[in-house]
């Protein structure tokens, strides 16, 4: 696959050009939300995908980032211009700092217990947003400065900021996947105890991945807050956020580099558009749910792994039917009872 860099460049160019080619604010609105989710899913995948720990509490960091920006803007009287964008990394850092003790505690557990602890942490965070009225104004929510940009221009800065964060997250994800550290994370996913016995510092490794993903998600929360310009606890800390990014990641292929992005590209616009076009008739949820089900039926391991597997099978089949061996009868369909483990079902392995 020598053409890979070219492909990537083309995709990048398309992403950059998108709002220029389709300047309609409705499209760019969906694009803004999509890059936010794509970046969040990518960040989540850095932790959950590589370590195999399914965290369903990242909405806590999204909300932390969102509230951080809102509170900072209020206290420092930040003007409604590009300044808040410059504050995004700070909000990410705040989320990362918050994630540190949470990760320290949660990562002492594994498997289902871990999932439930992250859910619990998310709820505590949401409840705190309600309860700490002094800073959060409770259920009355907070407003952010409202930029006076024209409707046509308005989405652009948000889109490019989101895209930048996405690229950054992707780069970090790629880098980790190709680092010694990332290999350690994957080893943790497969067999944590064994990894520990081979000298992988499992505790710090997991925690670092957790904090990195929280940093990005926190930044995205802040970006989102500035975009929506008002935040309320149930929206900033939204349990469905976690479900959404997990769905996107699973759908695209957990643990793969571009899977989360593909999942987001598919699901977020689909959801928005289905609500717009089928919402009034009442079919929105049915169709959106059906879309999920159809995709998973067609691509039962997620988009990227399934395609990779099909590709491998196809090339292998082609190799089998190469001229010097007698053409075998068409292979039987795999027995439904037998489990055929995927061949080369994972990993950028082999290509490197």
């Amino acid at each position: 696959m020598k053409s890979k860099p070219i492909w990537l460049l083309a995709l990048l160019a398309a992403a950059v050009a998108l709002p220029l080619v389709f300047p309609n604010p409705t499209i760019t609105t969906i694009a803004v939300l999509t890059v936010i989710f794509a970046a969040a899913a990518t960040a989540w995948n850095i932790f959950a995908g590589y370590t195999g720990y399914i965290a369903l509490g990242h909405a806590a960091f999204f909300g932390t980032g969102a509230y951080s920006l809102a509170i900072i803007c209020q206290h420092w009287h930040v003007p409604a211009d590009f300044t808040p964008f410059a504050l995004l990394p700070l909000c990410g850092v705040i989320a990362a700092v918050v994630s540190l003790p949470l990760g320290l505690v949660a990562l002492r557990t594994r498997g289902h217990t871990f999932i439930v602890i992250t859910i619990a942490m998310f709820f505590v965070a949401q409840l705190l947003a309600y309860d700490l009225r002094g800073v959060t104004h409770g259920s009355a929510g907070l407003s952010l400065p409202i930029p006076l940009w024209s409707g046509d221009f308005y989405n652009m800065p948000f889109y490019y900021a989101g895209l930048l964060i996405l690229l950054l997250a992707l780069a970090v994800s790629w880098w980790i996947r190709n680092s010694k550290y990332g290999l350690g994370l994957l080893a943790i996913r497969d067999d944590e105890d064994r990894a520990l016995g081979l000298g992988v510092k499992t505790g710090p490794s997991k925690l670092l991945a957790f904090v990195i993903s929280a940093f990005f998600v926190g930044m995205l929360g802040a970006l989102w807050a500035y975009y929506i310009e008002s935040i309320f606890p149930p929206f900033a800390f939204d349990a469905l956020f976690d479900v959404a990014i997990a769905l996107m990641t699973f759908m695209g292929g957990i643990g793969t580099l571009v899977g989360p992005i593909l999942g987001a590209l598919l699901l977020e616009p689909a959801q928005q558009l289905f609500a717009v076009y089928f919402g009034q008739s009442g079919w929105y949820l049915v169709l959106y749910g059906a879309l999920l089900l159809v995709v998973i039926l067609l691509l039962p391991e997620g988009i990227v792994p399934t395609i990779r597997k099909r590709w491998a099978q196809w090339t292998a089949a082609r190799a089998r039917s190469s001229p010097n061996s007698p053409a075998p009868a068409p292979p039987l369909p795999p027995s439904p009872t037998s489990q055929h483990p995927a061949i080369a079902a994972r990993g950028e392995g082999g290509e490197r």
Binding site: T109, G289, I296, G302, T337, A342
Partner: protein, 291 residues
Amino acid sequence: MDLILQAAIIGILTGGVYALMASGLTLTFGVMEIINIGQGALVILGAYLIYVLEQKLHLDLFVGLLITMPLMFGFGLLIEWAFVRPLKRDRIMLSILVTFGVALVIEGLLGLIFTTDLVRLQAWYTTASFQVAGFYLSYIYVFGFLLSVVLLAALYFLIYRTKFGASLRALMENRTAAQLIGIPVERVSAITFGIGVALTAAGGMAFGATNSFNPGSSYDLISRLLVIIVLGGMGSLGGALIASVLMLVIEDVTAVIWSPIWSTTVFFIVLVIVLLVRPQGLFGQVAGRKQ
């Protein structure tokens, strides 16, 4: 003091209702380890089915279960066959996707059929109560509690005392080995999933009789139900009951002695502490040895 006692009693009874809602999940999540995000939607579906029977045929809610549970069982078989079975790899995680999709479809269809008006199941025992030691106990909660004890006991019997249960546990632990000793793994999975969904019908009845609901009411439920299963210990049925009761007692007592605002927070903090000390849950088993 009186108030705390009363809150604790309410907590115990409401805990029974939660255990009932969680009973289906103890199978699909606790035993099969399928993260059934659709559980909440299935509870609501169960409630609507009973609602229809009550409205159209004037069936008693508990009698209605005799119809809705088989219906939901069939529905469970269908979901398993169509969506869970094709998942080969990462089925535990991908099941989140599938069950979420199913939940959306259910919610959407319920919305189309029943509109989003709030409804509630009515029967004489949904509002009536009887007095014990100066305190009123409501029939529906007592009935719900009893039903959940009965169902969980039946489930225990099924899983730990029958050949079917043994084959199910075997299949969960090692699918290939289970195949090799002749366990029809697909049929067992399907039936188990079906039973899990059927039990949800009972939970739905209890939910609908104690809460107003509409198709969108499921969202607050699912995370609490997942929490119950893990706190009780995956696969532990008594654990599920005790965890629900514990959860509701803590919340209810906190609500009256401090504030409802903090009740859930306190519970979640207790939860985190308990799970840090016992990651396998209250009654869960530790994973095997390393060798």
